[in-house]
Every structure is written in C-alpha cells, then in structure tokens.
C-alpha cells in the first residue's frame, strides 16, 4: 500500500498521467450508434480517400549586367526595323530610381509615339529633325526597366524585379529558361549573368518565395471560391506546391485545378446597364500593389486587343467625357469585385491613344491595402503568375482508404501483441510485461494526442512511423529492465538510481541517432515521408522524456514488492 502511495507522489508519474489524460482528451474518442467510433484525428488522403496534385513552378532568378546603350538598340531596333544612334544617355548613373533619367537617340526611319510607347519603357517624345532623321527621347526610365522590357519581350514571359533583395537587383523570369539561354540573350546586348564574389553564377532555377506564396494564395483562393471548402494548398520544398483534394477523384481534381476563373471588365452605359469590355485573357500581367499619390494601387497591363477595346468602348459610351457616369466594373465569376471611374487624366489620354498600363486605385486606408492585394489575385483570375507543370499526382478510392485504415490499425495491435509475447517469453514475469506493454501503449496514445493537437494528418507513412516508435520504445524499456536487474536482482535504491542513469546514457545515445537519421526527411521535400519522420521523432521524444523514466520508477516499485517474497530474476 505504502509503495503505491509513493508512486503517485512522484512528480514524473504525475506528469505522465496528466499528459496521457490530455492526449485522450485531445483524441476525443467517442461512439455514436450507427456512425461507429469517431475521433479528432485527421487522416491523410491515402486513408480517407481523395486525390492530390503536385506542381512545380517554373522560373529563374538571376542578377544581370548589361550595356544600356546596346540594350536600347536591342529593344528598339527590332521594333522600328531600322538602326538607331544614341546621342545622349545617363542611364548608367547611380541609383535605380527613374527620376531624371533619360536616353535620346536618332534614327532614319519614320517613328510614331505609340510605336515606342508600346515597348513600355517610359515617357516618350518624338521630334522629326529632318526627312531622314527622327529624334526620340525616352525619359522617366531606368536601366532596370529596360532590362525587364527586353527580357520579357525576348522570352515572351513576365519578368519582375524581386522586391527586397539585399545584394544587387534580382530579376525573376517567370518561365523556364536555362542559364545558357539567358546568357545568350544577354550577350546580344553586351551583357552577362552577374557572378557572385566567389565566382559562382547568380542564376538560380526556381522562383522567389514571394512568388511561390502568391501562387499558393491564388490557388487557394480559386479552389476555395469554387465552393470546395478547405482544400489545403501547401508549399513543399522551394519550388513545389501540393494540393490535397479530400474525397474528390483525380480527373475532377485536375479539371478544377486547370479551369481558370472567368474575369471580365464591363462598363456602365446608362443607369445600371453595363456593356462588355474585355475578358481576363486580355490582361498580360499584374503588378505588385504599391502606395503612391496618397492611394493604394494595383497595376496591370493590357494586351493590344484589350487596350484598343477599352479605348473604343470608352469613346462610344462617352466615358471619356463623363467618367463618373460610366464606372468600369470588374467581375470574377460573375461577382463584382471592383468598380471605379476612369481618372480624368486617363480619360484625356484615351482620346488620342490606347493605354496599355493601368492602375486600379483602391483608397487610402488599411482596408484599401487589403483590397489592392485581393485585386492583385483576382485580376489574375486564377491565372498563375508563373508557368506550372504537373509533376506528380495520386488518387486513392475512399473504399480502399478505409481498408488501409482498418488493416493498419489491426497491424499496429497485432505488432504490440507479438512484442508482448517475446517480452513474456524472455522475462516470464507479468510484473515486467504489464508495465512494459502499458508504457508502450501509452506512448502510442501520446503520439496520437500530439498528432490531433497539431492537426497532423495521419497517413500510411505516419502509421509506419508509429509502429517504428513502438519498436524503439520497447528496445529502450528492455535496456532499462536489464540494467536495473544487472545482477539478477533489484539493487538498493542508491545503486538503482545510478543504474537508471547508465541505462539512460545508452537510450539517449540510441534515440539521438534515430532522430538524426530522420531529420533529413523532415527538412527535405519528401511529401509522404515527412509524416513518417515526424511521427518517429515525436515518438522518440515522448518516449525518452516522458514515458521511459516513469517505467523505471514503476518497475522499481513493482519489483520491490516482489523482491521481499521472491527475490531475483531467473535466467
């Protein structure tokens, strides 16, 4: 009796009991007639049924050096079909702001303002000096703007400057381009890919983390807006995104993921009547929201067709003369997401020429900032900022999933029985067997408790991890038992403490190797195996820190009782 009391005063035992109880509460098993046993545990797709898609984001990051003179030739000459001669150029002055920077050149071919403007380099002015000589000045421009324009034209892809890069300006090319291809393109304009100080290239396959997160958000937004609640979209490693579709078959999943949203701009005609202007396919690119002129803005660019359509309709409806009566409204999947009049200056310019680069302003406050960011996603209408390729997919029928679930539970329980049989055969003493199996079983409960607490999805691999944890757990309990009974009988308390200490040096060493061996799987991008590694590591930690010390205490008490009557262990 006395011994039992001591046991429950031990702080380790109390902690153990509390955590075990906590785990059971977290798992929250309950039985509902008809529905069977339900718990708080989340199961992965391979146990629940459903499908998943894994996609890779294609792109490249690089820092580049160019000769601004050759660069402007490389951009302008193909556009006007004639050679140019640069007469003044201050683009190479320090700083990346475009204020006060300009480049002037002359050419023999006839050139119009809109021809140069469509290159999106800056503010253009054209002066006809003589019949055979035209002078063109591009101001409010910068070398960076030109590089972006050149690369995006040459690669037919969006090119952006990665915000917040510390060392130099990093360009993100949002399509697949090899280092050689990029190098060749730059060579044409007297440039090259910048080298790091240690001589390695700054070229890197992949996209910036900002772009990856944006892609993830657009996907989440799009999938969840389709009324499919809670489709988790996760980033895996640097360049991969994983989408889980619980309860949806693979064909449907692909259809959903590939179907872009329907984006439309309409213009108010009279009263509440609106007229179609353009669809999302006219939007070439969408920029990052910024704050200037006292408002938040989301920039976007229209293609030739879109810009002309907008100009034409603005003229026809009279929006140019009276912008406030003719709001431009944006719709995503028939739901209005934005509405604003043309700005007076834009209306004025539209009289003369189509406008390619637009900005949608949303206001001045925090809400406006959020709206600008939402608009950035909506404008893309489910079109992703980068090219993506499907690199993996999977599908498990719900029926098969539930078979897997039953089979793995049966496997776990039978494994525990097999272990118990071996332990009993070895020690032939129930007072060792019961705490050993009990400890092992509690470890499993605690692992599941942690899993349901952190919302971890248990998949087949995680279950293998739990079984592996049972395996190492029992190993360590055997070490403790044999260490405690080193001379075949229970030692005095003082010796007992040092024995437990010795056992734990071995156990901690062994546990450390297991954790170290599993760490690469957690850190690296393996989707499936992450679960295996994490459950094994959680299991090892719970075992070493919580469960196994208690086993030491319990076994001492139990054997102590026995020691008075029937000493020693028979071998």
């Amino acid at each position: 009796m006395n011994d039992k009391k001591n046991l429950f005063k031990n702080i380790r035992v109390i902690i153990f009991a509390l955590i075990l109880l906590g785990s059971i509460v977290a798992i929250h098993p309950s039985y509902t007639p008809g529905k069977g046993i339900t718990t708080n545990l989340n199961f992965g797709l391979d146990l629940e049924g459903g499908s998943w898609l894994q996609i890779k984001l294609e792109g490249a990051l690089a820092q580049v050096d160019v000769d601004s003179g050759k660069l402007i030739s490389g951009i302008v000459e193909p556009a006007i079909g004639a050679p140019i001669e640069i007469t003044s150029n201050n683009l190479d002055m320090g700083g990346s702001t475009s204020a006060g920077k300009s480049i002037t050149f002359t050419t023999s071919a006839p050139v119009s303002v809109s021809q140069i403007e469509s290159l999106e380099l800056g503010t253009v002015s054209v002066d006809k000096l003589s019949d055979t000589k035209t002078q063109i000045t591009i101001s409010d421009t910068s070398k960076e703007t030109m590089i972006v324009a050149y690369l995006s034209k040459a690669l037919d892809a969006e090119v952006v400057i990665v915000p917040g890069a510390e060392k130099g300006i990093v360009y993100e090319i949002r399509t697949e381009v090899s280092e050689q291809q990029l190098e060749a393109l730059l060579e044409k304009v007297g440039g090259s890919i910048h080298k790091n100080q240690d001589g390695t290239s700054t070229y890197k396959e992949g996209v910036s983390s900002g772009t990856r997160d944006l892609t993830k958000e657009i996907l989440s937004d799009k999938l969840n807006s389709l009324g499919l609640k809670d489709i988790p979209v996760r980033t895996v490693g640097e360049d991969y995104i994983l989408i889980d579709f619980a309860g949806i078959d693979l064909a449907t999943a692909k259809e959903i993921a590939e179907k872009p949203g329907k984006f439309e701009i309409r213009i108010q005609t009279t009263g509440n009547q609106t007229q179609h202007v353009l669809y999302g396919d006219s939007i070439v690119s969408v920029g990052i929201p910024s704050y200037h002129d006292g408002q938040y803005h989301t920039p976007f660019t229209l293609n030739e067709g879109g810009a002309r359509a907008l100009q034409k309709i603005a003229l026809e409806t009279g929006a140019i003369d009276n912008p406030d009566e003719h709001y431009l409204n944006m719709y995503l999947d028939e739901v209005q997401i934005y509405g604003a009049p043309l700005s007076p200056s834009a209306a004025e310019r539209l009289r003369e020429t189509p406008i390619y680069s637009w900005e949608a302003s949303t206001g001045t406050d925090e809400a406006a900032k959020a709206e600008a960011e939402a608009l950035q996603i909506h404008l893309r209408a489910g079109a992703l900022p980068v090219n993506v390729v499907l690199v993996g997919s999977g599908h498990v029928d719900a029926g098969l999933g539930s078979q897997f679930k039953t089979a793995s539970v049966v496997t776990g329980i039978l494994s525990l029985f097999a272990v118990a049989a071996v332990v009993y055969f070895r020690y032939k003493r129930p007072e060792i067997l019961v705490p050993m199996v009990g400890t092992s079983f509690s470890e499993v409960i605690m692992i599941l408790g942690v899993a349901s607490l952190i919302g971890w999805q248990l998949d087949l691999a995680s279950i293998a991890g739990i079984i592996a944890a049972i395996g190492t757990g029992i190993d360590h309990l055997v070490i403790i038992t044999d260490e405690v009974l080193y001379e075949g009988r229970l030692p005095p308390t003082k010796v007992f403490a040092s024995r437990i200490g010795k056992a734990f040096t071995i156990i901690i060493g062994a546990a450390a190797t297991t954790v170290i061996a599993m760490t690469p799987l957690v850190v690296m991008g393996f989707g499936t195996l992450k679960g295996f590694a994490i459950t094994t590591i959680i299991g090892v930690f719970i075992g070493v820190a919580i469960a196994r010390p208690v086993y030491g205490v319990v076994i001492k008490e139990l054997l102590h009782v026995d020691e008075r009557g029937n000493g020693g262990i028979t071998e």
């Binding site: 499908s51 890779k56 078959d249 693979l250 064909a251 692909k254 690199v391 997919s393 999977g394 599908h395 498990v396 029928d397 029926g399 098969l400 078979q403 897997f404 039953t406 089979a407 793995s408 049966v410 496997t411 039978l414 494994s415 525990l416 029985f417 272990v419 071996v422 332990v423 055969f425 070895r426 087949l460 691999a461 079984i467 395996g471 190492t472 029992i474 190993d475 055997v478 070490i479 044999d482 260490e483 080193y486 010795k502 040096t505 071995i506 060493g509 062994a510 450390a512 190797t513 297991t514 954790v515 170290i516 061996a517 599993m518 760490t519 690469p520 799987l521 690296m524 991008g525 393996f526």
Partner: protein
Amino acid sequence: MSTGLTELLDNFVKNHDNRQLLALPLAVFAVSLIILLVSIINTGSPLNLGMEFQGGTQISVETTDSPAVLKEMYSSYPITDARQAGSRVIMQFDVMDNEEQQKLETDVTGHYSNVEIRQVGPIYGRDLQIQAMQALFISFIGMCIVVFLLFRTLIPSFTVMFSAFSDIVIAVAFMKVAGIELSLGTLAALLMLIGYSVDSDILLTNRVIKRRGMVEEKISRAMHTGITMTTTTLAALAVMYIVSTFSYLVIPSFTQITLLSQISIVLIAGLIADIMNTWLLNTAVLRWYVTKPEFRGRYNR
C-alpha cells in the same frame, strides 16, 4: 526464441577467436558489395529505381482479372508491367502527356473500384533521386557524429559506424536480389535502419568500455539485452509484414499495403544483418581492442 538464439550465439562467440568471428560478417559484406557493383556495372545504379524516382504512373485496382488481361486491355497506353498483388493488380506505365494521362485515369476509374493512382513526373523523379541520396548521406554522417561524440575513441566508434554501414549495404543487396525497388517506402526503411542498427552496437560498446567487469561477462550480458531488443523489433516487423502482405488471404476484405510491406521486409533483412554484424563483427573488434596489451587490462576488471 530469443533465449535459445542468445545461448547459441553466446557459445559461438566464446568458443571462437576474433579472426574466426570476423570471417562470416566480412564475407557477407563482400558478397553484398559484389552484388551491388555488378548491378552498378550492368544498370548504372545499385538498385532498381521505383516509379517515384523514375517518373511514370502506377495504377492499382481491385479485380479478379489476371494481370495479362489488364496488360492487353491497356496496351494502347505505354504499359510496362502488370503484376498481381493479393486481390489487386498493379499496373505500371511510362511517362505520358497530360491528355493521355487523363484519358487513362478516367478509363480506369470508370472500369474498376478501389483504385489507387500514383503519378510522378520525370523532373520531380530526378529531384527525388538527388534528395534521396542526400538524405541517406546526411543521415549516415549525422549518425557517425553522434556515435563519435558518445565514445570519443577512434576504433570503437569506427567499428559501430562500419557495422551500421555494412547493415545498409547488406539490406540494399538483399533488395537487389529479392527484386525490391527503391521507393519512398524502402528509402524510409533504409534511413530507419541507420537509426535502429546502431542501438545494439551502442549498447554493446557502452557496456564493454564504460563499465567495470570481465570482458567476456560484459559481452555476454550485453548480448542478452541486445538480442531481446532486436527480436522484439523483429517480432513487430514480422507481424507488420505478414498482415500487410498476406492478410487478404484470410480476410478477403483486406488488401495488401505495399508501403508497409516494403518497409517491414527491408527492415527485417537489415536487422538480421545487424544481429550478425553487432554480435560477431563489432564484438570481435571490440574484444580485440579492449584486451590489447597497452591497456593492461583496463577494460577487463
């Protein structure tokens, strides 16, 4: 079972000198290396790479049709293999384009029930191959560092590392011979083996060099504990293997779980190799090391 094995092994160790003990594990290690070398020469890789590492599509369906029938049925797709796995047939396809892939998936899901599809693109497969090699390498180095920190002596630490290395080489050679492909599951098993296999080596080395007592006695006691450890693990794995592989024969509603089946069989092979490497190879080296004249019996009293 464990007690019988322990007695047998214990007597064997006591009655043979270090050289004799080394013979078997080194021979098995050498044979395994040869198997892997031959494979590298013939195929360029020590293991057959599974679909996950090569790219392609694997579809498994529940059916009573024979693999041959299915192979014929889907012959318009790049089907490379169809095999029986319990009540299921697993079909293997080469890399296809998106349209063809989708057509196949609709086709199969329309025809059969309890379908499982896994598809991996060749780019991702190549990425995975590199990551797999890195993971194995980092795990092994990490394990070596922990072992060295534990013992801080060259020969005992190195012996533990070598014995773990040999476990993995033997397990990989076993996979090659038994025709088990390197999949994500078997990779996990190999990594697990790195963690598992050193447990008994750590126990042995710790007991022998950090404990007072006669060397023979310490080895024999460590063996009792160590073999119990490994056999309990083996028992759990054997059950896992049997249930995940054969349970459908007894209970028709069950199905083969390839992932668990593969993980368990590779671990079983590795742990059997571990019994040999720990209690023959590691023991022999350790026994030779601690009875070296220069220690003047420091470890033997």
